[in-house]
Symmetry: C2
Subunit: 366 residues, 2 copies
């Protein structure tokens, strides 16, 4: 019997590992080594400083991240980073920062960046309905751009870059909100990586930001303190009261990744197995399940697809809910169905969904 939590295919906030949930539940009553509820522990305590330090170290270990990076735990979601990055690197610049517009989330990032300085959209998926990503041949990067920004995985459309793009002599900034710590990544090739927690690494309410030291040094003291990377680094993410609970859950998830999963290679392998099942179901359905994205850009995190008509989609959602699955409705921007299979979603859960889809197909194919 798989629990409803374990069958949560939501686009986020999504499932967390069952062992993490059990530890969180215990910590609401009492964090063993402190004797207090996790909700009542001071952010200035030695215990919490150790939580932040261990979480940083775990992320550094998982990614093989160089000491040139600072790791921050901030509030405001990825959305706050949409602004913090250009506030730091784009204000007052003559040359345009380059942005890739690859889907729903990219478009939002571009809107916020334009408030801060000149932006060039180097490539947009708009004309192809955001169903594919650009090839290298389509991208003509300028060496003068203050930075390149892109979104590594588009959750709505289910598109994922399988490579690092951009020039090595131009800072790369990446929104990895939806695939951070889901697979190994060449993190050291970036200048800023940010990811809100609520996909693979924790609850909504904390955003992990990896900032290269050169970016930290570029921070301006004219910015409000909380939007100043340097001030956040100097205070060890404790400028004002941080979201203690959310950071603690991230710690537990990083421990799970290191100790239970055994690192990001293993995590990636499981994630690949899960999507192979689901994409094979799409590919072998004679067009009954129609994938949104082109095959070569398919996401290992979000499998977005359509059924022959909306009535069938509603039926699919109702019956899948009845069968114990949650969160399978597509994003309101494009509709359809979306199975988000973040780290905590197990292979048996993906198998169960595949079986359900197979069953549904056999009963509803015309």
């Amino acid at each position: 019997m798989i629990s409803r939590n374990a069958l949560n295919f939501s686009g986020g906030p999504g499932a967390l590992p069952e062992t993490v949930l059990a530890q969180v539940e215990a910590a609401i009553k009492e964090v063993p080594e402190v004797g207090l509820s996790i909700l009542g522990i001071s952010h200035r305590s030695d215990w919490f400083a150790a939580v932040v330090e261990e979480t940083e170290n775990n992320i550094r270990t998982l990614l093989g991240l160089s000491q040139d990076f600072h790791i921050l735990f901030l509030q405001g979601g990825a959305t706050q980073q949409f602004s913090m990055v250009p506030m730091t690197l784009l204000r007052g610049q003559k040359h345009a920062a380059e942005y890739l517009d690859t889907g729903y989330w990219s478009s939002k990032v571009v809107t916020e960046a334009r408030r801060e300085g000149p932006v060039k959209v180097l490539w947009s998926g708009e004309s192809c309905g955001f169903n594919r990503l650009p090839s290298d041949g389509e991208l003509d990067f300028s060496p003068d751009a203050p930075y390149l920004h892109y979104v590594s995985n588009e959750t709505v459309e289910g598109l994922q870059f399988q490579r690092v793009v951009g020039r090595d002599d131009v800072p790369r900034v990446c929104d990895m909100s939806s695939d951070f710590l889901s697979k190994p990544c060449d993190a050291n090739k970036f200048s800023v990586i940010y990811a809100h927690a609520q996909k693979n690494i924790g609850p909504a309410g904390v955003t992990i930001v990896l900032v290269h030291d050169t970016v930290v040094k570029a921070s301006s003291d004219e910015l409000p303190t909380f939007l100043n990377y340097r001030r956040q680094v100097e205070s060890h993410s404790n400028l004002n009261t941080p979201p203690v609970f959310a950071i603690y859950v991230v710690l537990l998830v990083t421990r799970w990744l290191l100790n239970d999963v055994g690192g990001l290679e293993n995590m990636a392998q499981t994630n690949r197995h899960k999507t192979e099942l689901l994409y094979a179901m799409l590919d072998n359905s004679d067009g009954f399940y129609k994938g949104w994205s082109s095959k070569e850009d398919r996401s290992q995190m979000n499998v977005a697809f359509k059924l022959p008509d909306e009535t069938l989609e509603q039926k699919f959602l109702a019956e899948s809910h009845e069968a114990g699955f949650s969160g399978l409705a597509g994003h309101r921007a494009i509709g359809g169905i979306r199975a988000s299979i973040y780290n905590a979603l197990s292979l048996p859960a993906a198998e169960k969904l595949t079986n359900f889809m197979d069953d549904f197909l056999r009963h509803n194919r015309k």
Copy 2:
């Protein structure tokens, strides 16, 4: 036997009511009406929309708040509001906004405001070592100020305004982080009230902002979306993923205030009883326990005091910890001892501390 959670006198994040903690613990496993962990429920679900609506309604009922106010649940702590307020009301203004500098937190607010426009510190407690608040006679408000800002309760020094200050024809903005929902308040006399949750109303990670409609209308679309009150109002605090968990806990606390406590009059009465015990202990200790603030400005939330010397203070902290108390160290800015007695701290807990102090006094008086 009183649990360690119930004896958490921390300046924040502090204690939460035991009945709330029990409900939170259950919700980590499964929110009954959803069948999923609170950490895995979508912020776009009908269930979460109902959570936000009920929490808003509860706050409105508790305060008797008029429909001219919008209630927001934002991230970034009170610190984000230090900037959002002047970004909205001060940028481009000729006349200075007036700020009262009454303690540790006020000073931080002033620093952030100065980045956005002209600020006049109307009164400062610096010369008296921040041990008292201004009388009405000391405050000469200008009718031309874009707004007046003050902090209703200074947690570090333990100073609390027992009245609403300012002119009725100038917008009042108040940081009520440490006494929000601890007593009735003339909320309708303000234009903006903000309060982070981690004192009286929930865990760190969410800030409640009450914004009068005139302020919402003054919001500029030149601001980043997440710093624009109007955009936050239009999205019902769901512009990007809000801190679902923290907001849910705030809902539970507002239910506790309404149903278990029976409203803010009752809450204020209990809070008064708690501080009467503690301040009486200070006053009857022949100067052994020396209160920080002048009697007439004493806080009902934070009782800050000194012992005859630091060695005794260290002894007090060690022995109180041994006896099951937590969080009694004074703020690092001024040292000494601080008993924070927020809503969730019960009268029996305050009695227990008073008894401990009495005992300690008898054993350590010279």
